[in-house]
Symmetry: C2
């Protein structure tokens, strides 16, 4: 599993509209092959900042599958105009995980 | 639930030792009140970069509980010397989540 990470700085005053359009855009990403989950988190210290965490089966499901799809054009149209600056996307592979109550 | 997020840039050549010490240090964070889970992710595009995602019941479980605990001193001793620059920590609150197979 691959984690896609993007810090999203949204233009001031547009948070509510962005959150609504993010929910609308979610239909496109969640329909893609290799999609596993995604979440949007809002920063407490800096409320114009959001974090997108999307989990994909492989890197290529995101970089080739989603980014070259017609669904991505809809995603872009709904969301990209909210960002300033335009975000950098990074991909991560998990090296450690633990949950409360699980053995060491 | 609150998500603690830190981008960790580890000094070149120290990735393997860092990953080992991170696993050792995990005993301290996971013993704290309000701890829910944590994961370490390694960046594919920049392999000296890691992402720590820790989930806490409330913000104060991290900022007051963990950071003022004796366990945090052990965590620091094991891990802080690996970082350059020293990381900024941010906290996030979830505004949206979806998983494959779940209804819209």
């Amino acid at each position: 599993m691959i984690l896609e990470v993007a810090v999203l700085d949204v233009k001031p005053g547009q948070a509510a509209a962005f959150e609504q359009d993010f929910a609308r855009a979610s239909v496109y990403i969640s329909a893609m092959a290799g999609y596993q989950s995604h979440e949007l988190q809002r920063c407490i210290e800096r409320p114009t900042r959001y974090l997108l965490l999307a989990r994909w089966q492989t890197l290529e499901h995101h970089t080739e599958g989603f980014r070259r799809s017609p669904e991505y054009l809809e995603w872009k149209k709904l969301l990209h105009h909210y960002y300033d600056p335009f975000p950098t996307v990074e991909h991560y592979a998990q090296v450690y995980e633990r949950r409360a109550g699980s053995p060491a």
